[in-house]
C-alpha cells in the first residue's frame, strides 16, 4: 500500500507531556495536494512539526482510530488536528465527530477549514466540538494564531485560558 501520509520530521515523542523544547505536532488532513503543501509550510514556518494525510480514513489510521485498530497512544503525540471539510469518503465533520467520540483523543483541538462560508456548516462543526472553523485559503496569521493557542492549552499555568467547564 502506498504511503499516503508524510511527516516533516522522523521521530515522534515517547511522552505525552509537552516540553518547551519540542515543537507542537500538527496533523493536517486535506485531499488537495496543493493545499497540503501550503498548510504544511504554514505550520512549519510557525515552528511546528507537521504530518499530512490525504483523507479522513488515513488520518484515522494514523491516530489509531480506524476500525479494527487498537489505539496505542503511548507514542502518538498530536497537539492539533486541522482538517478540510469537503473530502471524498468521510467529511471533515465526520472525522471531527470520530475524534471527539474517542476517550483518549477527544481533548485534541480540531480545527475545520473550508473554502465555503456556509453558516449551517459552521454551526454544525462548532456544535460537533470543533475548536474553530476557518475559511480557506489559510494565511500565515492563522497558523501563528493557532500555534499560540496550542501553547496556551499545553501550558495552562503560563497565562493560558481557564477551563471553565472543569470547575466544580
Amino acid at each position: 500500500m502506498a504511503n499516503s501520509f508524510s511527516s516533516s520530521s522522523s521521530s515522534s515523542s515517547l511522552s505525552m507531556k509537552f516540553d518547551f523544547d519540542e515543537k507542537p505536532h500538527v496533523l493536517a488532513v486535506d485531499d488537495n495536494l496543493i493545499d497540503r503543501k501550503v498548510i504544511e509550510r504554514l505550520f512549519i514556518n510557525s515552528t511546528c512539526k507537521v504530518t499530512t494525510a490525504e483523507n479522513a480514513k488515513r488520518a484515522l489510521e494514523y491516530l489509531g482510530l480506524a476500525d479494527g485498530q487498537h489505539p496505542n497512544h503511548n507514542d502518538l503525540k498530536v497537539n492539533l488536528i486541522i482538517t478540510d471539510y469537503s473530502m471524498p469518503g468521510m467529511t471533515g465533520y465526520e472525522l471531527l465527530k470520530r475524534i471527539k467520540e474517542s476517550p483518549t483523543l477527544k481533548e485534541i483541538p480540531v480545527v475545520v477549514v473550508s473554502s465555503e462560508n456556509i453558516p449551517t456548516r459552521i454551526n454544525q462543526c462548532m456544535q460537533g466540538g470543533a475548536q474553530e472553523f476557518l475559511l480557506k485559503p489559510l494565511q500565515l496569521s492563522d497558523a501563528t494564531k493557532l500555534r499560540c493557542h496550542i501553547e496556551k492549552l499545553n501550558n495552562p499555568l503560563q497565562g493560558g485560558v481557564a477551563r471553565e467547564d472543569e470547575r466544580a
Partner: protein, 159 residues
C-alpha cells in the same frame, strides 16, 4: 545586458501588472512570505505542483464531458479541486471561472442535457483559457526572477 536595477524594475512592473489585471491576488503574496533562505524555492515548487495538478484535472474534465452519459457529480468534484488549488496559489481569475462553472453545473436539472453539456464545454474552455494565461505569465515571472538572481540581485518582495 540589463543592470540588476533594470531587471528588478522589470520584475516589479510585470508583477504589479499581473495583480492589476486580477490574474493574481493577495494569496500569491502569502506564498512569497512563506519562502525564505531555508526554503528558497517554495513558490516555484507549489506553483509547479499547481500546473501539474491542473493539467491532470483539465484532462479529466475534457474526458468526462465527452462521455455518452455525463457524470456531473464527477465534473463538479474536479472543478471544486481546481477552484481550491487556484485559490490557494492566488490565481484569482482561474478561481473565478471555476466558480462560474460550478454554478452552471448546479442548474443542471433546469435545462436539457444537451444544452448543459454544451454549456459545460464552454465553461471548460474558459477555464482552460484562464489557466493557460496565468501559466504563461507565471513562467515569465519566474524567468525574470532568475535573471535578477543571476545578475546578483535579490527579489524585492513585497512589491
Amino acid at each position: 545586458m540589463d543592470s540588476v536595477v533594470q531587471l528588478q524594475r522589470q520584475l516589479v512592473d510585470y508583477t504589479v501588472q499581473l495583480f492589476n489585471e486580477g490574474l493574481l491576488d493577495d494569496q500569491f503574496n502569502q506564498l512569497q512570505q512563506l519562502q525564505d533562505e531555508s526554503n528558497p524555492d517554495f513558490v516555484v515548487e507549489v506553483v509547479t505542483l499547481f500546473f501539474e495538478d491542473s493539467e491532470r484535472l483539465l484532462d479529466e474534465l475534457a474526458k468526462a464531458l465527452e462521455q455518452q452519459s455525463v457524470d456531473y457529480t464527477k465534473i463538479d468534484a474536479h472543478v471544486h479541486q481546481l477552484k481550491g488549488s487556484s485559490s490557494s496559489i492566488g490565481a484569482q481569475r482561474v478561481q473565478k471561472v471555476c466558480i462560474d462553472f460550478r454554478n452552471f453545473c448546479e442548474e443542471r436539472n433546469i435545462e436539457g442535457q444537451v444544452y448543459l453539456q454544451l454549456t459545460c464545454q464552454k465553461c471548460l474552455h474558459q477555464v482552460k483559457r484562464e489557466y493557460s494565461l496565468v501559466k504563461t505569465k507565471l513562467e515569465t515571472l519566474f524567468k525574470l526572477e532568475q535573471k535578477v538572481l543571476a545578475a546578483g540581485g535579490s527579489i524585492p518582495w513585497p512589491m
